[in-house]
Symmetry: C2
Subunit: 332 residues, 2 copies
């Protein structure tokens, strides 16, 4: 791996000159430029990005920190983040926090020298942690999918509760009153907000909340499947199922299909996410779209903007959008 010094020797010029032609800064005589170029060429010289970063305090890298790689949206998030970063010619460093807020905090602080900005998709960090990060870090931080005290941070979030209300509204409009609910993890804000959406929708129509209709899932298909099996096994009566993501809805669909219950004729199902697979199941799943890719793209673009520009707080809120397909029909 040749360094700038090798180029200097071969071209017979100083480091400064090589640096100038590499970066296209300052004045360099055409003939010198050519000498340097051909030296670089024949050595296969490539500037060491680490050294550049150290010298300029610009890394052209953005950090992505997630609480846990097993999170359900992580795949598409990472994919979109990688694509968006790449598009802007930034590198992406990926880190997870092992679901441990302190560890995660430390990881983020570590990234400071290595990134120009960091994107945080956390479900374990408290608001207080994030607050502190914001104060301590000299680089901007963009928080994704998290509702935070307004106007305090750069953030890209999703209206969780409203999205669930949209789902419930659709079910209620179709006459459903006994609506089973398959939740996600209840330790994090998303799960809580969504459950609130469920409860509030019920309350608004004066339908009594029935604990037996609520089952915990973990966002994976299997848990939706199991939750639904339990519901059936327990002999609970319901006409519709709302699941806190499409995967679990699809798992529930499978469970119903197995025992010969027809969807949507006997039971309606609605999910959230608009997972690409949802429209390939039979019946095609009705859902509320959660535009995680768009949100991620927005977050990365915001982060990149913040690398160079001022610090006025930006925040974007995304709303769910009902996608009617075939898994919901009016109750008989």
């Amino acid at each position: 791996m040749s360094t700038i010094l090798d180029v200097c020797k071969l071209a017979g010029v100083s480091k400064a000159t090589v640096s100038r032609v590499v970066n296209g800064t300052g004045q360099v005589k055409e003939s010198t430029r050519e000498k340097v170029f051909s030296a670089m060429q024949s050595l296969g010289y490539r500037p060491n990005r680490l050294a550049q970063a150290l010298a300029t305090n610009k890394t052209h890298t953005i950090g992505l920190v997630v609480s846990d790689f097993d999170g359900i949206h992580f795949g598409s998030l990472l994919k979109q983040a990688a694509a968006s970063a790449e598009f802007a010619k930034k590198q992406l460093i990926v880190t997870d926090g092992h679901n441990d807020p302190n560890y995660e905090y430390e990881m983020i602080m570590q990234l400071e020298a290595q990134c120009d900005a960091v994107i945080l998709y956390s479900r374990t960090l408290t608001d207080d942690h994030i607050q502190r990060l914001h104060q301590q870090l000299t680089i901007p931080i963009v928080v994704i999918n998290r509702d935070l005290p307004e106007q305090l941070f750069h953030s890209v979030s999703f209206q969780q509760e409203d999205a669930v209300k949209l789902m419930m509204g659709h079910l209620l409009d179709n006459g459903h009153r006994q609506i089973a609910c398959i939740t996600g993890h209840m330790m994090n804000p998303t799960g809580v907000a969504r459950l609130n959406g469920y409860k509030h929708s019920l309350a608004e129509l004066g339908v009594e909340f029935n604990e037996k209709l609520v089952r915990n899932g973990d966002y994976h298909m299997k848990s939706g499947y199991q939750a639904c099996k339990e519901l059936i096994h327990d002999g609970i009566s319901f006409t519709a199922i709302i699941a806190f993501n499409d995967c679990m809805a699809l798992g529930a669909l499978r469970a119903l299909t197995e025992v010969g219950i027809k969807v949507p004729e006997q039971i309606s199902i609605i999910g959230i996410d608009d997972d690409p697979v949802s429209e390939f199941f039979t019946p095609r799943l009705t859902t509320v779209k959660l535009p995680i890719a768009d949100m991620t793209k927005q977050a990365v673009e915001l982060a990149i903007t913040l690398c160079d520009e001022t610090k006025a707080t930006h925040s974007y809120q995304y709303k769910g959008q009902l996608i009617e397909r075939e898994s919901v029909m009016p109750v008989k």
Copy 2:
């Protein structure tokens, strides 16, 4: 962001001493160590990894280069890679090559100073490119999911052709002779190897190859759906479908379901991958497992090993494994 010099001043010692206590190297008097520790503490000092990397020529980072983020396995690959790297306390830098071999080549060369090893999941780079990379790079490179001249490189690969033979064998054993084939991109080695598997299996049983039974797909559900619709529309006669991944198989399943053709009673379907969703469709999809997560884990571990150790060529080959579920039955 405080530097080592700040710590020096506060603790009243030299850079060397601070470095020693940070790294636990050399001899340091206990009382000095404490002074330094408390200085670090009160400053919230964290060593600059960039500077460390530059000085030690150790980055504790591995690079992951893929041809294109849209590749079908990319999500799970990235997820597993991120998790494995994290587990070994390495950072991960992710880059894609825009499906352009020269750009990709350049990206990899760029990574040299930033990583201790790189993992390459490429479908555009030629063997010759990889050969050259191997010669030029001073860091090890692990090639994943690619069959290369034996013993030349570190690699983790999958027996593509054999896997398809496994699928075909299962269909043929069940009496199928008119087997439609939904392929993937045919520009890359994987697609070609798989199609060979299809052809050779047919040839071994003396079944004539019929071009009309072969349709190109792009590994996404929609393309499987469309390919199947075309097959039906063209009035081609077949008793089974083999698809070059589960997604397309599932798309085909959907297409058949839509037109009222029963799977597997009328038509059998087999896929490859063992996508997590496959067992939630009805009927549950019979498939051949492609252990992409295991392979990725292996590749990352290999890469990490190579960071420190010698250079004897390692290569791992994975085989497909038939997972019989419900989408294949004997032909009538």
